[in-house]
Amino acid sequence: MEWHQTPGNHALCMRYHSTPAITTSLSSPIKVPPSSCGQEAVGMELETRPETLSIFRTQENDPACQSEQHLGQYYTVPPSHFHTVFPHGLPPRYQQQVKTFNEGCVMVRQPALELISHLKRADYSKPTMRYLLYGVKGSGKTMSLCHTVHYCSTQGWLVLHIPDAHLWVKNCKELLPSSYHASRFDQPIQASNWLRNFRTTNEHFLSKIKLRQRYVWTKRESTEEGRPLGELVDMGVSRVKSSSDVVGAVLKELRLQAGGTEGGFRLAVAVDGVNGLWGRTTLKKEDKSPVAPEELTLVHNLRKMINNDWCGGAVIATLSQTGSLYAPSSAYLPQELLGEEGFDSMDPFVPVPVSLYSEKEFESCYLYYLDRHWLQHPHSRTEEGKKELIFLSNRNPSVLERLCAFL
């Protein structure tokens, strides 16, 4: 079986050259009756082939059209979309995997499908719905979030993706006192990095959205009403000192204009590691006293964004213990990680649990790694080896990935 990427057509098209001996080389004996996957064959140049080969892949690359029949299957994110939609959202190991396999494949899983169905049916004239993905470490919360973000961007929404809120509350080398508000602190580097990635994601919106207020930065610098948002963002990227305030201004503008009837767009706020916004930081002021998260401009503005006092969009958040500060490693429930303050701010929200791989999903992942020549150890392709992988990883997606990395 050969996989070709025909120039000009970014969807992979399958052209089979070799004989059915391929089915024997796959260790899993699962056979899917041709009728259930029939829809995938529409539009592709497939000769009549046993569908065993497509059990872990689907040709449905548009998240809006994916449904329960695609559960457990991998869809490919088209390479053209990849760098615009995900300049900064993906987990680092996944980015390495994309580079190695030369393609970006995401598994269609239950939590992401549930979220997408909620987003399709929600009423956007009402206050924003908040969705919270939670689960044990390594169960796939960030990947589900990225799947949803891909859906939002294919539907033409404006996506505000904060890759990890914990990055804003720790390891900050430069903490400037804010010019706008006396007791707050600015983080110029983090803010300008985020603005740069925001610009990459939402190029086409930057010229369409006009500011509704005049912003004064210094005695000589100001941005007038009616200027495009792009100008504000460019200013934030170039003038690093006021970038945190620019972020605040951008968030405010988007909040005001999201539900608007004329030229209204839908706003998706995707925050990974939202439990970092409430809790403690590891940053210290000059007199060595700890900085509370409220005293950081970025966190303050983001909290206002997560409130449900605006309409015309959705807030999708993920809890994360991995980067969190002062949280025990066994904690994964919303109550434990958000704390009282966080839970009260997020309440009411729609909790979406993310579980470990089911048997079907594990099979799918295993076949995908076999297909991409990632499982190289001869014993890993046997039944014994597969049982051992299940035992060692407990079907946890990230543990399985790390195990298969050196096998």
Binding site: N102, H373, W374, F406
Partner: protein
């Protein structure tokens, strides 16, 4: 079920605390006499203190069997010797297995030896971590090359990190070694044959010292090790060069070969 070493129970230097059932005269005997006399007193007994993970076990103790296949043979297919062995195992105590022994299908004795040689201060976790990162790194580089290569070249690219590791080690093993032999007051470097163990040891030792010494301060060990292994796989790199230099020295000293008397 995977079989790992037993939990540590209190180690006490209890070889000298013999059970009271032994007659007085035997308690003071030396080890060799004791073993002969203890095997003479064969009856199922549990020692008061358990001896775990010593290398000097009482010969009464049997070796552990970590392989899974042995336990999967049904009762009917056992040969008489195996049946006898099983009965013996049900009465005799068994030595505790060391941590390096597993029943995993992914166990590789050569790799375990390499991990042990890389280990410093008994910190096997770090050494094993470095090796797994090395294997992952090698596999990533090769798989990336594989996916980007044109169809004809794909079959030539070796993606299996274990195969690369074994082949690289083979390519680094010297065939002939040198020994320092004294004759007539002077020391001569005499070419000698090497045993398999010695060859494997030299290959691993050279690989590790090369990666420790000749790398940039900021390069991590796994990165350098993966570069060296890939180079050795294609018979380039400093380790293979060192092997060739050893061979040349041996070749140049052929005249002294008769100084070897074994």
């Amino acid at each position: 079920m995977l079989y790992f070493g037993k939990q540590i129970i209190e180690i006490s230097f209890a070889l000298w605390h013999l059970p009271e059932s032994l007659p007085r005269g035997l308690r003071g005997t030396t080890f060799s006499k004791m073993s002969a006399s203890i095997t003479g007193l064969l009856k199922p007994w549990t020692p008061r203190v358990f001896l775990v993970r010593w290398s000097r076990y009482n010969p009464y103790y049997l070796e552990p069997e970590p392989r899974k296949e042995v336990y999967h043979i049904p009762e009917t297919e056992l040969t008489p010797e195996q049946k006898e062995e099983r009965e013996l195992k049900s009465v005799r105590p068994i030595k505790a297995a060391t941590n390096s022994v597993t029943s995993s299908v992914f166990n590789d004795p050569v790799l375990s030896k390499f991990v042990n040689m890389m280990m410093k201060d008994g910190d096997k976790i770090i050494a094993k971590g470095i090796i797994t990162q090395t294997l992952e790194n090698m596999k990533r580089k090769q798989v990336e090359k594989y996916h980007k290569a044109p169809e004809g070249k794909k079959a030539e690219i070796e993606c299996n990190p274990y195969a690369i590791f074994h082949q690289a080690l083979e390519n680094c093993k010297p065939v002939i070694g040198l020994a320092s032999i004294q004759k007539g007051g002077k020391f001569y470097q005499v070419p000698i044959p090497l045993t398999d163990n010695r060859r494997r040891f030299l290959a691993m030792k050279w690989m590790i010292t090369e990666c420790r010494d000749n790398k940039h301060r900021r390069t991590l060990m796994y990165e350098k090790l993966s570069q060296e292994l890939l180079a050795a796989f294609s018979k380039e790199g400093n380790v293979v060069k060192r092997k060739h230099e050893l061979h040349k020295m041996a070749e140049s000293n052929r005249a002294y070969a008769h100084y070897r008397w074994w």
